[in-house]
């Protein structure tokens, strides 16, 4: 494995079966290199969330192996702060202020309190919430809560950010703003991002590569490189090249669902 130094996440013939009958993921093969932004795109039930949870060590594969930096995800979590996970809902602790929510991952690892606070404020500034340190989650809008959630994920300086449909519950305008912010952060912090979505536009706008998945059983049906230049701005959405990629991705998605119906 010569290329493994660049390889951040690798799925090797990974299958996941729930309750010994529901096949959530079948023979999933994918290799993700450092600095990539890979979206898992597919209909519900295609196993895209399962694939992400496998990378986070939240699920064990029934077959095959998932490796992060050539180690098991569980081991990576035990030893480092390299993996961060952003849930679909902001998943904040309602009894903690915004600052304390962002401090949580640092607090759990222990260390210098003052430096932790500085780091938490740095990431909150990055998502534009420096003025809301003492607010409680219930006082914030959905978009702001998601920003806090992203800040919390960034606080521990992860190398891999796993995001499970983080913007699915937000309105279109907030979603577009957060997408651009996420791209900014991705470039600044030099991370590898795995992003689960069922939104074709979102996948094309964000990703360097899209893994198109199909359902029943969940599997990888095709891959697609998105060769659009960064930084990507709002104007890109009206660009013909963008539309072309969206069309291609949609066709791949449709193809995978037609195949499904033939089976």
């Amino acid at each position: 494995m010569a290329a493994s130094s660049m390889e951040v996440v690798s799925y090797q013939r990974v299958s996941k079966v729930f309750n010994s009958e529901t096949v959530a993921l079948m023979e999933f093969d994918l290799s993700i290199k450092k600095g990539e932004f890979v979206s898992f795109l597919g209909p519900s039930g295609c196993g895209k969330s399962t694939a992400l949870r496998l990378a986070a060590g939240l699920e064990r594969p029934s077959n095959g192996t998932v490796k992060i930096f050539d180690k098991s995800p569980k081991k990576v979590i035990k030893q480092t702060n390299d993996i961060a996970f952003v849930f679909q809902d902001a998943n904040l602790l309602p009894w903690r202020t915004i600052l304390d929510n962002v401090l949580l991952p640092l607090e759990l690892r222990g260390g210098n309190k003052k430096e932790q606070k500085k780091e938490a404020i740095r990431v909150l500034e990055m998502v534009g919430l420096k003025d809301y340190l003492d607010y409680y989650p219930r006082q914030l809008s959905g978009g702001m809560k998601m920003r806090v959630s992203i800040a919390r994920a960034l606080a521990a300086k992860p190398k891999i950010l796993l995001m499970d449909e983080p913007f699915a519950a937000l309105d279109e305008i907030t979603r577009q703003t957060l997408q651009m912010e996420l791209l900014d952060i991705w470039q600044k912090e030099e991370m590898t991002i795995l992003f689960v979505t069922h939104n074709v536009f979102e996948a094309v706008f964000l990703s360097t590569r899209i893994a198109v998945m199909s359902a029943r059983p969940g599997r990888l049906s095709s891959e697609m490189e998105v060769d659009l230049p960064f930084p990507r701005k709002l104007e890109l959405r009206t660009d013909p090249s963008f539309s072309q990629y969206v069309e291609d991705a949609s066709l791949l998605l449709e193809g995978s669902s037609i195949k499904r119906e033939l089976i």
Binding site: A56, G57, L58, I77, K78, I83, A84, F85, F87, D89, N91, L93, P94, W95, L104, P105, E107, L108, R109, Y136, P137, R138, A156
Partner: protein, 288 residues
């Protein structure tokens, strides 16, 4: 689109007028909405109570009038007041012990699945034993008086705390639990930073139930464990008054116990609101 100035003036005036009226009527409105109904019901109830014994010709030792009850309370105030004080001390002690032991045991049980599985069934069995039935044993072990009464009060107040707290500790949101797993949190970090704060609303419910029960426990305890040398509490006063057929005073004792229960409940509710103030829905509704 120009509007004649006179019209603007009259409009503004109307607005200011209505604002002032709103301010004034707000208190009245709130009063009418929340307090007027209960007050009227209370007055009607008192009037009925006052007139029924007169109309039916019932003797005061069968059904005393409210005025009789007040008179009895004033006449025997020197007995009633110390009795109330003693019961307060007993039930507060019983409540504190059941809160501390209840929460402590819950945390211990919740920290180990094996422990919980092996011990919790017995806790439920224990709960079904009527405390009145075992109270004499408590008296044999702890002697007549204070100690036994506090123990009985504790026994009655303890189970709501433990069952509610345990339920809270075990109903942590799955996503939040996974979040802590992803950050490699230890078992006790999860307990202090996630499970106990998540369980707080449940704990508070348990405490609210337990505080009124602890008064019941104290009074039942006094029935059985008696005075043990010193002066007796409300329960003791009730037994004595019943034997002497001092019905009016019995009513006064009963009402005193009820007021005690309400006061205790309100106090614990205030504490609960304070604890959940910043975040929990049940407390947030109260400040709107």
């Amino acid at each position: 689109m120009s509007i004649p100035t006179s019209e603007i003036n009259s409009r503004q005036k109307l607005l200011i007028d209505s604002k002032a009226k709103k301010q004034e009527s707000k208190i009245w409105q709130k009063f009418r909405q929340f307090y007027l109904g209960p007050i009227i019901a209370f007055v009607v109830f008192l009037a009925l109570w006052q007139s029924v014994p007169v109309l039916l010709g019932l003797e005061h030792y069968i059904l005393p009038k409210p005025t009789d009850v007040v008179a009895a309370a004033i006449e025997d105030w020197s007995l009633l007041w110390p009795a109330v004080q003693i019961t307060v001390v007993e039930s507060v002690l019983g409540f504190f012990v059941s809160a501390v032991v209840g929460i402590g045991v819950s945390i211990l049980l919740a920290s180990s699945k094996v422990l919980e599985r092996s011990i919790y069934p017995y806790a439920i069995v224990l709960q079904t034993i009527p405390v009145v039935a075992v109270a004499p044993i408590v008296v044999i072990w702890f002697g007549a008086g204070y100690n036994s009464i506090v123990v009985i009060s504790f026994l009655i107040g303890f189970f709501p705390v433990i069952s509610n707290t345990l339920m809270g500790l075990n109903s942590v949101d799955k996503n939040k639990d996974e979040l802590f797993t992803l950050y490699n949190a230890t078992k006790w970090q999860k307990m202090w930073k996630l499970r106990i704060p998540s369980a707080l609303p449940y704990m508070m419910t348990g405490l609210k139930i337990s505080c009124t029960l602890s008064i019941v426990g104290a009074i039942v305890g006094e029935y059985i464990a008696g005075i043990g040398g010193g002066k007796g509490g409300l329960g003791y006063s009730i037994t004595v008054a019943a034997m002497q057929v001092k019905t009016s005073y019995l009513f006064a004792c009963g009402i005193a116990a009820a007021i005690l229960g309400i006061a205790f409940y309100l106090l614990v509710s205030m504490f609960s609101n304070y604890m959940l103030n910043s975040w929990h829905d049940s407390a947030i509704k109260a400040d709107k």
